[in-house]
Symmetry: D2
Subunit: 400 residues, 4 copies
């Protein structure tokens, strides 16, 4: 019996998360690293029938002409991460995966992202329809060439500016009709990728705060093709902590007066988030969780600042000012010094593995049980990390 082959198509492939995912899958396949950081490697997930690292075939779209090896070297140099020996040992796999990365589309990505690279600019699609057709063709070619049993399109691209939805985004027929003439304003690039994936019946996962599949029209498309989807915005660091700590304050009936969070970091995502409109998307999901968990609105403040010398190291300082008994004011502060891509990559692999389990079981539609992986879990109100994790374990118990 041939082993199942799972395609993992990375949108924004040569970025930090994409590179770490690709390096990590190679290193895991070769037995060079432990499974630290992979939720799905915990004993509770042992009987799910998860695909192994070696079953994944990586491809992707990019707008920067680069390679996984170059990207890994850049990370080594700027952020002091990725052991030189490890990159060397995985060099062939990285090269093979790089060869499967195709020029992406920028239509609707906004000016700051557009400036990151020029790969494919010479044949840039002029309409949304052209863009989707080309993306879809790339996916189909990959499936055919690599004999993929299940293709998962995973958005790990830079954060787009917030997008204001209109009537046309409420209905697939209307949106589909609009694609033909659709320009910059019809949809953000992330949604064009989502349409291309779901129209082909492939699974779509959105690890970013960009719009992606998160509009009624695209939900309807997914329903019609029976595709799986889930998102959005991976919960990796400061926001994870917020959804861990806020329940404690709630359960102890401590009154949070203000929660201030300042984030600094210096990777390419930072270049993009340095544009205030792109940043707005990120701040929004980061900010909402505390209020959602506490059930009331303390003063909240979230900043994200681009400090190039920090490299991939994201440092967050949070100051939580709260009242205890007799109204006494007290303080908790934390600093989180995490390497962004290395926190995100294993979770991206986790959701891909879990999506494949659903595919094997013949399921379709929105995967709500993945909520613990996301800052803005789609179709789920709950932001308490532990309740979300309980939901995942409940799913595992039912599925195993």
């Amino acid at each position: 019996m041939t082993q199942r082959r799972v395609g993992l198509w990375l949108v924004g492939a040569f970025g930090g998360v994409g590179t770490t995912v690709t390096l990590g899958l190679s290193a895991l396949s070769r037995g060079l690293i432990k499974s630290t950081g992979l939720v799905t490697a915990l004993p509770d997930f042992g009987k799910l029938g998860l695909p192994e690292a070696a079953q994944f075939v990586v491809g992707g779209h990019e707008i920067r002409e680069s390679s996984f090896v170059d990207s890994a070297e850049e990370f080594r140099k700027n952020s002091g991460i990725f052991d030189a020996d490890l990159v060397a040992a995985c060099r062939d796999d990285l090269a093979a995966a790089s060869a499967r990365v195709k020029p992406g589309v920028k239509l609707g990505a906004g000016p700051t992202i557009a400036k990151l690279g020029t790969w494919g600019d010479e044949s840039a699609p002029r309409t949304a329809a052209e863009a989707v057709d080309r993306l879809e063709a790339d996916l189909a070619a990959f499936v055919k060439a690599e004999r993929i049993d299940h293709l998962i399109v995973l958005c790990v691209a830079s954060t787009e500016p917030p997008f204001q939805t209109r009537d046309v985004h409420q209905d697939w027929n209307a949106l589909n009709a609009a694609l033909a003439d659709g320009g910059e304003d019809l949809l953000p690039a992330s949604s064009l990728y989502a349409i291309a994936a779901l129209r082909g019946g492939h699974t779509y996962l959105n690890f970013t705060p960009s719009l992606g599949a998160s509009i009624p029209a695209i939900y309807q498309l997914a329903e019609s093709t029976g595709a799986l989807h889930g998102g959005k915005d991976g919960k990796t660091g400061e926001t994870l902590l917020k959804t861990v700590l806020a329940p404690m304050f709630a359960h102890r009936n401590l009154n949070v007066m203000s929660w201030v969070g300042h984030n600094i970091f210096g990777n390419r995502d930072g270049v993009v988030l340095d544009d205030p409109s792109n940043k707005a998307s990120k701040v929004d999901t980061k900010d909402r969780v505390v209020t959602s968990i506490l059930g009331y609105k303390p003063q909240t403040l979230v900043t994200i600042e681009y400090i190039p010398d920090m490299g991939d190291w994201k440092t967050a300082w949070d100051h939580i000012h709260f009242q205890g008994f007799l109204g006494t004011k007290m303080t908790m502060q934390f600093t989180w010094q995490g390497c962004d891509s290395l926190l995100a990559a294993p979770l991206a692999i986790d959701i891909a593995r879990l999506a494949d389990v659903e595919k094997q079981r013949g399921r379709r539609g929105l995967m709500r049980h993945l909520s613990c992986f996301f800052k803005g879990p789609e179709g789920v109100e709950e932001n308490d990390f532990f309740k979300q994790y309980d939901d995942l374990l409940r799913y595992v118990a039912q599925s195993a």
Copy 2:
């Protein structure tokens, strides 16, 4: 119908927690403060039939000749807590409660605690039996004088040195027989109070790391009299955070390499904990929870240091060093600046209220559902705060 009267007998009454409990109950009765910090004031607990603040009658034992008002003033001066107007408004209640505090016993409390005060030294009991008899008589007199329906003895005294149990502590008959001649070495003072409480059929709650009722012999005594009991060591600050954060690291499969926690504070408890033998009890329960939750033993270090100028403000700095994907080392640090007595007091009131619900329902024995309130929950292996809290909610659902 007369309203139920619940006696709350504070062992170590004039300490920070005892004083705050007494002031808080008065302020709550008079509608002067909100219920911030009281877990049992959360909506989930609304239908339990909990006793209200006004139903509590406070008494207690002490070895320092003082009063609740003097203690409150000392806190105001040294730690900048307790609003002057609030203390003034509750002055009569505090005076009345002070009048119900009786000289305690020091037998077995160890030299550092013994130095704190001399109240009652002139008539100090010479044997354990004498001590228990006198304590029990004080409790009985209080019940009678105040027409108490349910008496709860709550240990909020200073932390005793660790106590090495022996064969005699495994069996109530043996221990009971030994009381007659029992001196300093037979039992710590906290256990004498526990015996006095439970022998009289009263509820015994241990908010400290001292031995209290936590030996088989005293469990047997409780069983024989049908008394309720629970403990031990209130989970108020740094340890609470450990049991909140450690599950996150576990669920994300992040490998905690070391967890260092340094605590500084300056209240009277600090004077006692400055004695290394007393401190050992505290460090032990603080240290154990991380390993218990993670399922493996990272390097752990816990210090507690007495810094008088800090007053009641306990500041903890924790440094958590962990590995993520590809073995990458990352760091989380937090500082917790909490007012110790004000974090502890509402939880002490919570467990007293919950104990009274059990009493009303005719239950007996160890109250395992209180685990989320304790650093070392008796009869419960689980230290994950959220699982403990789920247990409490499950109890509430079954009891309401």
Copy 3:
């Protein structure tokens, strides 16, 4: 011989600094507090002939109809500072000083400050000339009524927006001529106060980042009247630390790559700084010092955010990312939790005392030796705190 009487005229009298200065002078006069926080109380300053607290007579201008007692009570309630007993003991002095506070002018103060109060609105001056005349008359009346030997006008008002100077601000004759018709745009309010003070030959000290006397035209005015002046922007917390730590990095040849500073606080100054244009003045002086000391420009970021529940407690988190030997990246972080008004007030008293020494010696013009008290020391390039302090000690050695 009658004792010298020094008038201290506070612009923005009922604010945090003004209130603390007034309370502090009263408490010092009455021997109720130690001299902690007063630089001029250090032994090195013992032979200067400094005026004592009891020699100061406080008056001032305000735009909010209030009193020192009300302001002190507000601080007690919101920020947990000022002991109730201390305020009570100084109540008479505070009342007397309150009676000496007159309605100020808002002309040129900007809309955010103007919204703070309405005192004196009914007789608001319509031109700059009218404003200056009225302010000058208030000062003269105070000098006469209180038999003041030396009047010091000290600006402790809210921070105004940055002001773009023009040709008219380069020359006193031109500016003086323009006052007659001068409206909102001619000068910020702080400069009207400066003109009123200096035209009358009084000393002017600017403890804020507002423009005040800091233009050539007003320097010329001071020269012509022989008045003393100095500023600006008191160096109290985060910026003090920057000017203490940056020299260390410089002397150790450590390469500071980025210095990020986030400030949160919640007093009235915060309301004003919440207006981005007012905030810009403050961020500017806070940001410049690091580059000035290091001699090169690292990436710097300074935020100041208004978080009302913080009250007067200003918390700063600074993250300093630097390279050591072999280019190794290292990190220093600090959090400073200081009470803003209580850090500022003694320094305000210090510069008033030192200014009086100069007056006694018959000096005139800009007091450069006060640089260690200011974020933006006028007439001085040096921002290294220790070099500034050495300058002050050198002055003391020469003057004593």
Copy 4:
């Protein structure tokens, strides 16, 4: 004219500081790194006639049979420092230096250090005299073989336990006479090295808190041979910050109530400091500086804990509790995350360069002007970093 050759003899050569010094000198000679971290590379020191990196010839003593390359690789692996390419480029220099390292002596080093290695155990000297003779012979052989113009013996070995001096340590004749039969108790190993160096007229520098040359008897020896010496205990991280921040609190007349400092780190020095008696030496010098600068004794607490997973990264958390005006209590906290060996190595090079300048000038005896490099500067009372640095600049001005 042949270029001056300066011998740098590292006691504890293969440790972190020794390895970094050797790698750094090689990298500087080859122009591979900038001079970041080297104080003597600042413009102020430009005219002193300092020896260049290429003029240094490294040798040393060790008790572990290893090499600079192996040690560098260990650091790369455990602490993520030292770029692989850099080590490769310097490999030949490191190998050559390794060949110049000889087995050291353990006599008097204490049991914890003795356990670190066994190199040279087979021919271990039995008496102090034998030890000193052998060490001196090694130095002489090195000078001869490498045609050294000036030999500097630099102690960068592990910290020895505190040593209680006796009468015999007050006088060189007495001590010299005692060497013949001297065993473990006569002198710590560090002092045997100091005697060997100074008896040969070489320069001795002590970068550790061990006793070294710091007794009257050895001072007399240095005087008799005209040798230069200086120490002790390099001021690299937390203590540097103490001597930077304490002057600020002093100059602002802020009353420091307590200064708590907790240090964690995981390099080999940590293994040794994990022995409480070795640790005591270190804590002592770290603790003394604050009191010395403030002029009064606040409560101080210093811990150093060995946390292996931290590698060479020393993290210090300091909590400074102080009173400002009106006795208001405020707090400053800092965390310092520095790489120990990389902070120490450039300073070790600095003092060697500065010592050579003195040698060129024909000076002899204790070099007091190096105080800013040391936690416990010999012959100098001043601990204020900026006053110490001013002393150094004054020396430079006089010497250039």
